[in-house]
Amino acid sequence: MLRYALTRLASAVPTLLLVVALAFVLVRAAPGGPFDTERRLGPAMEQRLAEAYHLDEPLPRQFLRYLGGLLEGDFGPSYRYRESDVGELIAEGFPVSLKVGGVAMLLAVVIGTAAGTLAALRQNRPTDHIIMALSMIGISVPNFVVAPILVLVFAVTLRWLPAGDLATPAHYILPVTALALPQLAYIARLTRASMIDVLKSPFIRTARAQGLSERSIVLQHALKPTLLPVVSYLGPATAAILTGSVVIEQIFNLPGLGRFFVQGALNRDYTLVMGVVVFYGALIVFFNFVVDLLYGLLDPRVRYR
């Protein structure tokens, strides 16, 4: 197990390196630079800026410089927000995305598996149909539709909840709901399909034959293997949700990571985009790793070598 974990972690290094290299090439390939504006700054000033940010050096050299900084944990200065380092921006944005995304993910997992299990146990009965219809809506209606509707109903019309910002716990309700809904719906469907499969397997038939109560069959025997596909979905989903949803952050004015991604790309803020990409890449690698370890706990057939 330990050896497996170490090998996995070691294999993450070339993956991340590749991510950094690809991102670097793609970001630099985009036309237009961070200091291009409608009005030129003048040659003397442009020269100084290029020197200050090492943009006058050949690209391979800039890449090595960036890598060197990364190894020391330095993401470099933001080109756009001149008083901030990318590291600082990520450090400020990530806790926000973590709080909103974490609560959303928790809700999605808890309610999603519960609803999926319920639907599986009531297969082809009204409860199942209702849950599956709702989850279909949840999956197919995108965030940028759900979020404004929530705002219109609960903030503008009813005035029960605030429409933006994160000052109090009440501020979390709408963004968390909007963020959780599609994940919740997807998890519910995954759980239902998986549970139906599991309930048909021989070991469940054996358990039934032994006269175990339905409750103990579902909770103690069926639930663990049911969760396998859900858990493998959770890895990338958690990484995605934690790095922030651009749409949700814009609509609710949340100071999270997601909008740095988009704004950074539009502003040609090279270091900011790179920083978010590297951070996002590392998160995905990490959560996939966690998922692989969780597999072992859930499925006795999995052995780590």
Partner: protein, 552 residues
């Protein structure tokens, strides 16, 4: 079969907890986002359209940043509620006979927001920093009239050689390279604010942060959450704190105009930065007293690439394209928020100047179309040999609608075949800067200060925003003479002659003049529409109870 799932129970408990929190929050409903005891009435909540890239007056360059800076700093002169010039850190000034030496007397007892005395030396240091190429200030060119500024900005002279001096702690003397009459307007721009030398030297680029940023404006910076909000509090060391009614101000950078409007409707904003275009008509009907639309010093234009065919040396062809444009329809229907059709390059809203207009401004659409067709034919184009070119614009709904309309106007009137190319803003900018764009491109010019010179200098040879490659020595010398002219009427006359020349040659096609558009909640008083769209928080006040009377 009854199953009770612990998971479900947990989920329900969480939902219940959320509900409980919501209930607990109920009392502060009137002002969500207020954390702390001060009453909602002492907090002004304003939206800006994007996150300011910097709160250093020398490094900021975007409109949203200058809005916030106007509350944090004050220059020698400043702008009043109506955008007119007003005494700032300096109460009075004198100009020498030859117009080359300006002497500003600082108000007595000025202090920085940390209590340090603010002296003339601070202005000297700040002006030098503003023009120093090492600073990388976008608005260094605003000080261009100062002696030595040009050479410093070009990196050929030391910033110490700038024509600014402090003979004593209370006097700032500016020496000019040549007389100009717009100097005060340039000095009222937020970039001409003094910055606190000790803080800049201690913190470097990181100084514009809460607890570090020391300013001299009516407010001081207490909170900054990138992507969240910028919190300001009244500066007790401001020269006239009693005149500042509102205790706290929050700026919310909101990129999405619908989200912004929803927050306004939910009672979470007092002033919006914009009004969403698709809902403009509804808002006009539903909230006439809150909607504030005013002429703005900005022009939406199409620029030609004048350095290559088909538009090189073809003023008549350019005129034909201009004639074929139905500006009233574009401004009235497609922009549709009160924008004015542009018959000149300089907006009529600019002070002390009435711009000459295209000679066909008052002709009927039919007469214009007829002349357009004649010029088009004379230029050698027709049904068998249509004019083909590309129109590039940066991606946005409004630009797309307008470009499509232009395409069909040129096709219907002239038979020209126009290919529309939309590009990301940065790509368009990079290509126009390289002179890489064949045909036409969409652009806009927003004035930094209220002066006709701020519009006409753009088209002088080699100006940093002259992407057209327009170069006309007669125009250049008229503008140069106008800039140096001290008599107001003579100056306006010279500029008008220059603009007439420009309009006759059509190097650029102004399409419409922008308007500023805001929603201002009835509880906000003191708002005065102005063409620069500067509304410093110090002039505003909050009325109670909310929803009494609108307008001032």
């Amino acid at each position: 079969m009854t199953l009770r799932f612990p998971v479900l129970a947990v989920a329900l408990a969480m939902l219940a907890a959320c509900g409980a929190r919501e209930g607990a929050d109920e009392p502060s409903r009137t002002a969500p986002g207020v954390d702390g005891p001060p009453a909602a009435s002492s907090l002004l909540r304003r939206a800006i359209s994007a996150e300011p890239e910097s709160l250093d007056p020398h490094l900021a360059r975007s409109v949203p940043a200058t809005k916030v800076l106007g509350d944090l700093f004050e220059g020698l002169v400043t702008l009043g509620p109506d955008g007119s010039l007003q005494a700032g850190a300096s109460a009075d000034w004198t100009v020498s006979e030859d117009g080359l030496t300006w002497t500003f007397r600082l108000r007595p007892g000025l202090t920085w927001s940390n209590g340090d005395p603010l002296t003339a030396e601070d202005f000297v240091w700040s002006f030098r920093r503003l023009v120093d190429p090492a600073t990388g200030a976008f608005y260094g060119s605003n000080l261009m009239p100062l002696a030595g500024a040009r050479r410093i900005l070009e990196g050929e002279a030391d910033p110490d050689t700038l024509g600014v001096a402090a003979p004593d702690a209370g006097t700032v003397v500016l020496r000019l390279a040549h007389p100009v009459s717009d100097l005060l307007h340039r000095l009222a721009h937020p970039s001409a604010a003094p910055v606190h030398r000790a803080s800049v030297e201690e913190w470097g680029d990181d100084y514009p942060a809460p607890k570090r940023l020391v300013g001299n404006g009516p407010y001081r910076l207490v909170e900054r959450i990138i992507g969240g909000h910028i919190g300001l509090e009244k500066n007790g060391f401001f020269r006239d704190p009693v005149s500042v009614p509102i205790e706290r101000v929050r700026y919310y950078p909101l990129e999405d105009e619908m989200a912004e409007y929803n927050r306004y409707r939910a009672g979470e904003l007092d002033i919006t930065a914009r009004v969403p275009a698709p809902l403009f008509r509804d808002i006009e009907t539903d909230r006439p007293r809150e909607l504030r639309v005013a002429p703005y010093l900005g022009v939406y234009y199409l620029g030609f690439n004048l350095s290559e065919p088909p538009f090189l040396d073809a003023p008549d062809l350019r005129r034909a394209l201009s004639l074929a444009i139905d500006r009233r329809r574009i401004a009235g229907t497609l922009a549709g928020r009160g924008e004015l059709p542009a018959w000149s390059w300089t907006p009529p809203a600019v002070r002390d100047y009435s711009p000459p207009r295209f000679d066909y401004a008052d002709k009927t659409a039919d007469a214009r179309a007829e002349e357009a067709r004649r010029l088009y034919r004379e230029a050698g184009y027709g049904a068998e040999r249509p004019l083909r070119f590309r129109l590039r614009y940066n991606t946005s709904d409004e630009n797309r609608r307008i470009a499509t309309a232009l395409q069909s106007m040129w096709r219907d009137v002239l038979g020209a075949e126009v290919e529309l190319v939309n590009q990301e803003f940065r790509v368009l900018i990079a290509e126009t800067r390289r002179g890489d764009i064949p045909g036409l491109f969409r652009g806009s010019w927003i004035a930094d200060y209220n002066d006709v010179g701020n519009f006409l200098t753009v088209l002088t040879s080699g100006h940093t925003a002259n992407h057209f490659g327009y170069s006309n020595p007669a125009f250049d010398s008229l503008v140069a003479a106008a800039i140096r002219e001290r008599g107001d009427e003579e100056r306006a006359g010279l500029f008008a002659n220059a603009e007439r020349l420009l309009l006759a040659e059509h190097p650029v096609l102004p399409i419409f003049f922008y308007v500023s558009k805001h929603l201002v909640h009835p509880r906000v008083g003191g708002w005065v529409d102005n063409s620069l769209d500067y509304h410093y928080s110090r002039y505003l006040r909050l009325r109670e109870p909310p929803g009494d009377e609108t307008g001032d």
